[in-house]
């Protein structure tokens, strides 16, 4: 991943200048850009962090690094929101917003509480721009192996940062487009993208490729979204990210009764861990899922550790 124009554009002049002065090669593999008030400008690439120097370039010395001040952060927010802070109220309440291109910006600051929980964030003090990663083709092998003889209810589990969502997105893309080479036809897919990480919608339009036959319900709670999709869009497959909780279990159960296939992800280290978690326990005991894919970080994110067939 390298820095593209659409990412540099969201930063105020001073910061975009130091990025432009940095060799594009130095930015290879960038994952995050972090701005904290009165702290050095930091990037994360290949899982370790570096400072950006006053005159561009990467440095390990925090004294020669570009210092971010509160004004830089305010200006970044103005640019990021297209100078229309008011149209991003929900995003601020949730603590993140999605940029064009699917990049995610996490926001922290002082929270203002209202009667229904967090009302908004004020005095923003730090931003974390996470560069969207789209690895097309990372699911080819799995799709061919698992789905060439029909879709199965699938659960993908791994610890954070092992590529669950990336894999899910690519599975969705493959199944939605259909692929003769992998011996799958195109399916109608409904995606409930509660945290906006699968399709990364910007103003409702998916920024990442989720396929031709995919309908995305953006930032909708999973339980509500599954019912909405069932009633309105007639999906053959419903894909959701990060299920947990008993509510999710019930909604998925109902979807199963409606004859829809489910592909979901969940946080967990191992299969044994998930077997005992409330919600999952019932799902696994009753063989809700046909197949469980376990990912790890062993040979880089997205390593397929194990595939367990439950039926």
């Amino acid at each position: 991943m390298i820095l593209t124009k659409e990412i540099i554009e969201i930063f105020p002049e001073e910061i975009s200048l130091v990025f432009r002065r940095t060799e594009p090669n130095d930015m290879q593999g960038i994952q995050e850009i972090r701005l904290r008030a009165n702290k050095p400008l930091m990037i994360v690439k290949n899982n370790s962090d570096f400072f950006i120097g006053i005159n561009g370039g990467i440095t390990y010395d925090c004294n020669s690094a570009f210092l971010v001040n509160i004004k830089d952060i305010e200006r970044t927010i103005q640019r990021m929101t297209n100078y229309s802070l008011y149209s991003f109220e929900d995003e601020f309440r949730n603590g993140y917003l999605t940029l064009k291109g699917g990049h995610r910006v996490g926001i922290v600051g002082r929270t203002v509480l209202g009667s229904e929980g967090i009302k908004t964030l004020k005095n923003i003090s730090a931003l974390n721009v996470r560069i969207a990663r789209e690895i097309k083709g990372c699911s080819d092998a799995i799709v061919k192996k698992l789905y060439s003889d029909g879709i199965k209810h699938t659960l993908i589990i791994s610890p954070p940062g092992c590529g669950k969502t990336t894999l899910l997105r690519d599975i969705i893309r493959n199944l939605s487009d259909g692929n003769k080479r992998l011996n799958v036809r195109g399916y109608r897919i409904g995606v409930v993208d509660e945290r906006g990480e699968i399709a990364a919608c910007h103003q409702g339009v998916p920024q990442l490729d989720v396929g031709l036959r995919t309908d995305v319900l953006d930032s909708c709670p999973k339980t509500l979204g599954i019912y909405m999709l069932l009633r309105s869009m007639g999906p053959e497959i419903i894909a959701v990210d990060e299920i947990g909780g008993l509510d999710d279990t019930k909604a998925i159960q109902d979807a199963l009764k409606a004859g829809v296939k489910i592909i979901a992800t969940a946080h967990a280290g191992t299969f044994d861990e998930i077997k005992v978690r409330a919600g999952f326990k019932e799902m696994i005991e009753n063989s809700f899922f046909d197949v469980v894919i376990i990912l790890s970080n062993k040979r880089g994110p997205g390593t397929i550790e194990k595939i367990i067939y439950l039926t």
């Binding site: 002049e13 103005q78 297209n82 100078y83 229309s84 802070l85 008011y86 149209s87 109220e89």
Partner: protein, 172 residues
Amino acid sequence: MLKLIGGLIIIIASTITGFYISHLLYEKVRQLRELQYALQILESEIIYSAEPLYVALSNLSLKVNEPLKALFIDLANSIKDFEKDTLHDIFINSFDRHKDRFLLEKEEIEVLVSFFSSLGTSDLEGQKKNFNLTMKKLDMLEKKADDKRQRNDKLVKYLGFASGILIVVILV
């Protein structure tokens, strides 16, 4: 004969000047009124449909007359192109390019500048206050301009004609 024609030309010219000045007084009131109308549309675009500013401004530009139309189109494009870091700077830059076509004075421009600088930085609730405040200020300024026009309209026209006569009398 020549004198007569010359004198007539002077009188006509000064009368036209008088009428022109009176037209400018009226045009200023019209601009202020249109500005208020525009803000009302912008308010509904922003508060009720939460459209991003550049979308709201380009929608708005379809509904107003020149020179506001040109200003809003320019503003919408500058916002889309991330011309400056803050909306305040973008507005000042944009307005600078069109200021010759506006008859607004310093006081009125300041109202607009402060309106646009808080437009970029506050949430919906803040926007409501911002709109209310700006509307009130513009209303006041419009009344003032209209007052001035009513008081001076006839005077300016007479003065144009009379000064023409005066010049002719002095020259003859």
